[in-house]
Amino acid sequence: MKIKWALLTILFTIATVLTGCDNPLMVLDPKGPVAATQADVIMISIWTMSFVVLVVMVLYIFMIMKYRASKQRDDYEPPHIEGSKVLEIIWVAIPILIVAFLSVVTVKTTNEVEATPKGYGDQEPLVIYASSSNWKWHFSYPEEDIETVNYLFIPTNRPIEFKLYSFGPISSFWIPQLGGQKYAMSDMVNTLHLAADVPGEYMGRNSNFSGSGFAQQTFNVNALSAKEYDKWVDEIKATAKPITEEKFNELLKPGHVGQSTYTGTHLEFSPAPEGENAGHDHGSSDTEENDSKDTHEEHSEHSNMNHDH
């Protein structure tokens, strides 16, 4: 037993030294309010759970050390003990309190990360459509009327509303340092709210297995100050070629491509699966063509209950 714990401690130390010191773990090194909330939740849960582990370990070591046969008289006969109401109530009640505490934390923070990031409520979010295809990411900026492939530029200090969907298998859009992930699926659009506080380059990837090219389905995220971001947009508009349906269909073919930039977005000819008849059938028989903005609102209501525009 002693050897085991010694080894575990060594292992743990090595592991933390290897990764912990020079650069902190990505998820625990947030660069935006959503990831910060999540890192806080993670730390709260680690501390709470350490307490549980500690209690179990203390009891465990005590029992194993004290009641081993080798420490006892040969003729010792262990007693028959049925159990104890008091003790059992304690170890039901305390876990219930812990779970209740963590439930409150969870519900509160889940609402928080599903809404416009804290402190950004008064700003109009920048909407970016992020769609995946085997094994790429397409980013459409309707506001700027540009589109990028496999890389993402965002302004700092502005809430971003990602509209996620997929032209293939389920993918998961994830930028660990800005916040947790959400699925991009072919039959509906998911909304993910993120924001970056700090300019910098971040790793983004698809984290849901989507076939043989999945491991390399990554994208770079560049968070720039508002001024630099505007400069980048202007530059793109001046230099990039327009995205055509032909070009876009070519991009959709399975395979890896490098980064590229276009003016215009694919939303014009390949719209996102939003609204009433977007494949994801809610059972409504309403066939009337709605104004796309309305149906979009309605859909977000449905898929994101605590989401306010």
Partner: protein
């Protein structure tokens, strides 16, 4: 496509050719060996046609051990591939096939059958019964599982392996993105094995409810039997969902229906929901029996009765109920909003409460005990802290807002191995070592057992602990490669080293079986561990009829009381015993199922139709058959009893 081309593997590699050769040679060797030693008759009479729950149990365990090694080799291959950045050992496609197979094999063809094997051997004995309620159905269950497993395994060399993960999410597993027959194999082999499991569920519920020894009320059943009863209820409620999901999947893949595709009103989310409505209870199907096994072993080797019997039972019932209302925690990120996620977070975390009750009860079973560190006890004791780590990380994962960061990362992989390996693998190894003398009449070497224990425990932690860290550092699961700049290299290398340690530990178990079979003493008592429940009250090896006289029971530990307080277990006198006859039909019918499955995988309709008729023919044959079993006479019983008593 040419007729024969479709049986070719779409992504051949040297490993696959090597396996083909190895499988071919092994089959030739096995057939030649059996013929040479003239064992065909013996094999047929004693094993292939048996309806004896003990033999069926042994066959389950044998198959499960084989599958443990199959899945283990897959695991080693994965760890070898990811040990260094940008490694070229396996390509993406191959890695995907490997982790898919690994997951399916480990859960469905290793953990489940191992548990079912132990429950086959032990449960009837623990409740003082002579057999299970439906012995012949039991044989059908085993052979269906076996044929399902074989069908799944040949996918590696015939036609292509499934490659969409053990979860087989749509649309990835649909025809558009998964063109090879791999996912057909998945759907059909799981279906065949699943039907077998469902029948096992019914069989054991009836056995436990109807065939307990006189005096054994529900609240006097041993804890292992309790865990099995509850597990089988979960099976009966969960498996029909899998049956339906796989049937829909089969129709999507073979007949062009669109239940799970995005066009025409199909929904990929429907698959995810159906899969996990079965899948989450499934993990409790493989973990609850472990709780039973540990309860038996801890109380045996702490030399004390189980602490808090009633709360142990209540907590298991609570866990089984809760296990059905947490499934959506597997896809918090599918976008169902804060409200739904909040509810599923709370139900999920609630499971921690009854689980905690059990942990504390085990700890207090040690209290004032007299702990002996045998190999089964070592596994049980190692389980407590390791499973606690797995459990607390489970609570962390249950918190939806944080799970957005852990989902699909190595953190999750670390978590589920931290619950599944101590929760299932250690348990079956412990149970297997513990009940081995009952099955075979000799003990496994404690010394070799301890060596393999330490290799496994240390290897396990070295393999999986680093994954918590790489997960928090952004390493996604199912990634076959990563670049040097990510910095994941050293920890993945450490994992690989641990995996080698694990492999050595498992290899030592095989060596132990070999060594003990050759050298261990056959002169052991019926009750070598000084245990507490009824399975130890009969002879070793166990006669076909289990108990010459049906035992009577008046406490949870009747056998212990009979040893310590002189309680009389066997009051009645010997009478003739009714036993079922062996039958070849279960085996034959399952072989036809295999052909049926194979034909469906490759859409060979004529063969499939003929096989379907064959299956029905077997059932019709059974319903017109007049087979009322046979009686073992009093003289025969007494002769057997005297011989067994004399041997001691």
């Amino acid at each position: 496509m040419d007729y024969f081309d479709r049986f070719a593997v779409p992504h051949p590699s040297p490993a696959i050719y090597a396996s083909m050769v190895a499988i071919g040679l092994t089959m030739i060797a096995v057939v030649a060996g059996i013929t040479y030693f003239k064992k065909w008759g013996y094999l047929w009479r004693e094993w292939l046609t048996t309806v004896d729950h003990k033999r069926i149990g042994i066959m389950y365990i044998l198959a499960a051990l084989l599958m443990l090694f199959r899945g283990g080799v897959d695991a080693l291959m994965m760890r070898a591939q990811t040990a260094i950045p940008d490694n070229g050992l396996l390509d993406g496609q191959h890695y995907n096939e490997v982790f898919t197979t690994h997951g399916v094999v480990m859960i469905l063809f290793m953990a489940m059958p191992f548990i079912i094997g132990l429950m086959n051997i032990v449960t009837p004995l623990q409740v003082g019964a002579r057999d299970v309620a439906f012995p012949r159905l039991n044989a059908v269950s085993f052979w269906l599982f076996f044929m399902g497993a074989m069908l799944f395994n040949i996918s590696f060399v015939v036609g292509g392996s499934p490659d969409a993960g053990w979860t087989s999410y749509f649309p990835l597993a649909g025809n558009d993105f998964s063109e090879s027959v791999g996912s057909n194999y998945y759907a059909i082999s799981l279906q065949i094995a699943g039907i077998g499991t469902l029948m096992t569920g019914i069989n054991f519920i009836v056995t436990i409810l109807k065939m307990r020894a006189p005096g054994m009320t529900l609240m006097k059943m041993p804890m292992f039997t309790w865990s099995i009863l509850i597990t089988n209820f979960i099976i009966v409620f969960a498996f029909p969902v899998l049956t339906v999901a796989l049937a829909l999947m089969t129709m999507d893949r073979l007949f062009g229906t669109q239940f799970f595709t995005m066009a025409n009103g199909g929904s990929d989310m429907l698959w995810a929901n159906l899969f996990w409505v079965w899948g989450h209870p499934e993990v409790y199907i493989v973990i609850l029996p472990a709780f039973g096994i540990y309860s038996e072993i801890i109380s045996t080797f702490a030399r004390r009765n189980l602490y808090g019997y009633n709360s142990m039972v209540i907590s298991m019932v609570a866990i089984s109920t809760l296990s059905f209302i947490v499934w959506a925690h597997h896809f918090y990120t599918m976008g169902h909003g804060a409200m739904v996620n909040g509810i599923f977070s709370i139900t999920t975390m609630a499971i921690a409460v009854p689980t905690g009750v059990k942990i504390f009860n085990w700890l207090f079973t040690l209290w004032k005990g007299k702990i002996v560190f045998t190999v089964p006890m070592l596994y049980s004791l190692a389980f407590i802290p390791i499973f606690t780590l797995g459990g607390v990380t489970g609570v962390m994962l249950a918190m939806a807002s944080a799970d957005y960061q852990y989902h699909n990362t190595m953190f999750l992989v670390a978590h589920f191995h931290y619950v599944l390996i101590p929760g299932t693998v250690f348990a079956v190894l412990a149970g297997f070592t513990y009940w081995w003398p009952k099955m075979f009449g000799f003990m496994l070497s404690e010394k070799i057992g301890k060596w393999s224990f330490w290799f496994i425990i240390i290897g396990f932690n070295v393999t999986f602990f680093p994954m918590f860290i790489t997960g928090l550092d952004g390493q996604a699961r199912r990634m076959y490669t990563y670049s040097e700049s990510t910095g994941y290299g050293p920890l993945n290398m450490l994992s690989f080293v641990g995996a080698i340690g694990l492999a050595i530990g498992f290899a030592l178990i095989v060596y132990n079986i070999y060594w003990s079979t050759r050298y261990a003493s056959r002169n052991i008592s019926n009750d070598p561990w000084d245990a507490r429940s009824l399975e130890w009250a009969t002879h070793t090896p166990i006669p076909e009829y289990n108990f010459a006289v049906v035992p009577t029971v008046d406490s949870t530990e009747a056998f212990w009381d009979s040893k310590k307080k002189g309680f009389k277990l066997f009051g009645g006198k010997v009478e003739k015993i009714h036993m079922p006859n062996n039958s070849g039909v279960p085996f034959i019918m399952s072989c036809i199922f295999f052909v049926w499955g194979f034909a469906l995988v490759f859409s060979m309709w004529i063969i499939a139709i003929i096989a379907t008729i064959g299956i029905f023919a077997c059932m019709i044959h059974r319903s017109f058959e007049k087979d009322h079993g046979r009686y073992i006479s009093v003289e025969e019983i007494e002769e057997t009893e005297n011989k067994l008593r004399g041997a001691k």
